[in-house]
Symmetry: C2
Subunit: 258 residues, 2 copies
């Protein structure tokens, strides 16, 4: 794989690209939050509701490398309903994780205010990783009762689910310092609206989908002055597929748009 940026550009082994992300110490009250997404050039983040067919095998390998840096991998309930999800990392990463002070496998976190989840899925029965369901006070108690044998349940918010409060709980109760979000677009919008995003990994698959597909973020259009500005950290390339890493800047401290 070719690293194009930062310069000088150089050939790098695929396994080294996102091997050690050098994430900074997290803020005191929540985890550092990175998001990893793949889209087509025309912005499609899912085809037939699934993100997995968009990226190449290389993208899938890099996804696992990024996961290997995180205490926990977080997805929205829609993603879990739409596709097969296994957030675990290959056994080869486990020793390295432990050496870095991480658990052998990342926690698997599902966000669902209603806690209405497909409990029959293998996701809920895998012995490879531990599960957390991040939910709100609106979730009915009988659902939580069925969930508890399969996952740790964290209820966050007063009156209604509060994602920011949920991330505080992840940090304080579960010790999650580096959190990797993997979509879908609804969860991404919630992270963006609450200004909880610190970093973005974005794979650009070299194809055009044509339209009518979910995009990376499914929220309201933000006013220009509230749109986060991004700072490009690195660019990698293989077979016309681009792997981009951005730091998410504060919209408030961004230079005005031209």
């Amino acid at each position: 794989m070719q690293r194009l940026y930062p310069l000088p550009s150089t050939e790098v082994p695929l396994d080294q690209v996102y091997r050690d992300l050098g994430w900074p110490e997290p803020p005191p009250d929540r985890p550092f939050v990175a998001l990893n997404m793949v889209t087509t050039v025309d912005g499609a983040a899912a085809l037939d509701h699934q993100a997995q067919p968009i990226g190449s095998a290389t993208d899938h390998r890099l996804m696992r490398c990024i996961r290997a840096n995180a205490d926990a991998v977080m997805i929205g309930a829609g993603t879990l309903r739409a596709e097969s999800v296994d957030p675990s990392v290959p056994a080869a990463f486990e020793v390295e994780r432990v050496q870095r002070g991480l658990q052998p496998q990342p926690l698997a976190i599902v966000v669902s205010a209603s806690a209405e989840l497909p409990l029959q899925r293998s996701f809920f029965h895998s012995p490879r990783f531990q599960r957390v369901v991040l939910t709100g006070p609106e979730a009915p108690e009988d659902r939580l009762r069925r969930l508890r044998p399969l996952a740790q349940v964290v209820v966050a918010g007063t009156g209604a689910f509060d994602l920011a409060a949920g991330l505080r709980r992840l940090r304080q109760q579960l010790g999650v310092r580096w959190l990797l979000a993997e979509g879908g677009p609804t969860l991404n919008a919630a992270l963006l609206a609450a200004e909880l995003l610190d970093e973005l990994f974005w794979t650009v698959a070299p194809r055009l989908a044509g339209g009518q597909a979910p995009t990376m973020v499914a929220g309201p259009l933000l006013p220009a002055e509230r749109q986060p500005r991004l700072i490009l950290r690195s660019v990698h390339l293989q077979d016309s597929e681009l792997y981009l890493r951005y730091q998410v800047g504060s919209a408030h401290h961004a230079p005005p748009a031209e």
Copy 2:
């Protein structure tokens, strides 16, 4: 500006980046068609219906450099209705264009099957460039009569407007060899559906819009095997904004998706 790809990466003066695109000879029966678009990282191609606020001043300068290579600049009626459009190139490019065998200014082409266009706009009265309205047999004759003093009218299609037939007319009647499309998403979808796209210039503005915005292509989602594969030709970078150039490959000749 930094060229990251092709290698070796190098610093290049902005004016040289897309100065001479080296476009190939067009197919015999239509122009070579390039598309130039700007989006945010999350795929928004317009904010409040306008593309111009998304890109930086650098993007706008590169847009004019690309135009300087084309016989004609083509937009959809929706783009003309939504924002101020002036497809002309700076006077400094005119001599160079003539030396390359182009007219001093590109033709300005508006695509509108209905020919319902905002004729009061300065676009229709500028002395800087010549206008063509590409329309279909469904356009009422009284509209065409009002248009003809302001633009050359080309009617294409039998029974209904046919974009492919229109591009053949542009080549055969008006001598358009290199055509630059500049959106919007509806025209892009028509070009894609008719397999008329040869090249894509894409500026990725380093920001997140949040959602609910038009994307690059507003058509039906294509089945995976009909999605055009793209071949990355070059990557330039300035101030975290990426300028990407792709060749559009045939979906039929693409390797199978993994």
